[in-house]
Amino acid sequence: MDPIVVLLIIVGLIVVIGLWYIVTMNALRQLEVKVEEADSGIDVALTKRFDALSKLVGATKGYAKHEAELFEKVTKWRKGLPAELTMEQKQEFQGRLNEVQSGINVAVENYPDLKADSLFINLQNSINEVEEHLQAARRLYNSNVSTINQRIVSFPTSIVAGMIALSKKEFFEAESAKRADVDVSF
């Protein structure tokens, strides 16, 4: 075969592989950005949940002292939720919030007047809404993580992922046992 043809084929192959590498790398980076966006969505939702819960703790301080104290412990995280928190730490943060909230739920059971209070009902509605948003943020994050993880482990995309040092992302696990406790139904 003519050496020029061989050279052209090799150059062509290199160009094709190079283009594929760039396209794949960009796609992976875009997915990574989507995961980061979803991650920040969880941060926003967790912060909102914290804010809503702090209002609830304020409104029920006289009825649920233990929970108010528990909440103080969470408050040290308040500046809480720094950017460098790992997914595991965020889950722990959420676990603490769940603990406080379920404690309040149990405590106010003995106070029908409080349960009927319009401010309290509004706070509950607001917490319900925030909880829905947190669940949505968690599901969106996990969906994006699932997509990128599938790409990272699939050949030949896995080669590009390895070359740009992209590793599998961690899921945000729902704590189903605790979540069941948190079901706000006064």
């Binding site: 979803a38 969505g41 509004n122 509605n125 319900n128 809404e129 829905e132 948003h133 669940q135 949505a136 943020a137 599901r139 969106l140 996990n142 969906s143 699932s146």
Partner: protein
């Protein structure tokens, strides 16, 4: 005799005329073709029979249509008022085509018809609905000339429900249609493979899609699809929810030669339950979807 029985009697009388007129017309044509070609007497007789048959069919049809109209205006109107809070039923009215286009997934129609308009409130959630039929014009060029005809591409129910809740972005969940919108919709996948097989999800905001379509809602949307076979589309736009079910039928259809009795009324009520189902299935009646005053 109660009101329903009197409607059934009127319906039966109308059907009887059609039942007699139809065969009479057919027999007269057969008579004309078989033995009347050479006999003037038979031709006249066949003609008279044919005329009688056609007149009976016309009288029967007019009586049937009048009965249907009376039944809807005087009977169903009251029933729907009982079934739905602040329920209003207008048999001859319907939503405008522009109202239907607001769902932003309905294709452009060349001919549109709507009827059986209902509005009211269920568990505090306002809604309105009607039967709609959308058709597109087809033009066929043949050696004999040009033929224009209309082909229906949507026949079914259209619902508009107040969402009472502000959400960012827009969402459409469609079986076969595609967004007909200027909004920057993009297709996304939900976590459920089964759901993604049935519905395509288009949104302008990923978070909104996951917020509105919870796993429970996915299951309920799948159940709606199973219970109401046809082409289904949901849209969540500007604090309104739209639902379109292309099932090739009317919600409050009265058919000829089928009894109009309590069982049929129960079937209407059951059909009507769909609106309630939709509101419940989508949790629109729950506090999270209700306006907090």
């Amino acid at each position: 005799m109660d009101l329903l029985a009197s409607y059934q009697a009127t319906k039966k009388a109308a059907e009887k005329k059609i039942l007699i007129g139809g065969p009479l017309a057919v027999i007269s044509v057969a008579l004309f073709l078989l033995v009347g070609l050479n006999s003037l007497v038979v031709q006249v007789l066949a003609g008279l029979l044919f005329l009688t048959g056609v007149i009976l069919i016309i009288i029967g049809s007019v009586a049937f249509n009048k009965m249907v109209s009376d039944f809807k205006h005087n009977f169903l109107k009251g029933k729907i008022g009982e079934w739905i809070e602040n329920g209003v039923y207008e048999p001859n009215a319907g939503l405008a085509l522009d109202d239907v286009y607001r769902c932003e997934f309905m294709r452009h129609a060349d001919r549109f018809h709507s009827e059986d308009y209902i509005r009211g409130s269920l568990d505090g959630v306002q809604f309105e609905m009607c039967d709609i039929k959308l058709e597109e014009r087809r033009v066929e060029h043949t050696k004999n000339g040009t033929r224009t005809y209309y082909v229906p591409f949507f026949t079914g129910q259209f619902y508009r429900v107040d969402f009472n809740k502000t959400f960012n972005g827009s969402l459409q969940v469609l079986e076969t249609e595609r967004p007909q919108s200027k909004r920057p919709f993009k297709k996304i996948k939900m976590e459920s493979v089964a759901f993604n097989k049935v519905y395509k999800t288009y949104t302008t905001n990923d978070h909104t899609a996951f917020y509105l379509i919870t796993p429970q809602m996915m299951e309920r949307m799948m159940k709606i699809e199973q219970d109401h076979p046809g082409n289904i589309g949901f849209a969540f736009l500007d604090d309104q929810m739209y639902l379109a079910i292309d099932n090739n039928r009317s919600l409050l259809e009265i058919q000829m030669f089928r009894p109009l009795d309590e069982k049929r009324i129960d079937a209407f009520k059951h059909d009507f339950q769909l609106i309630k189902d939709v509101i419940h299935e989508l949790k629109l009646n729950q506090n999270i979807f209700k306006e907090i005053t």
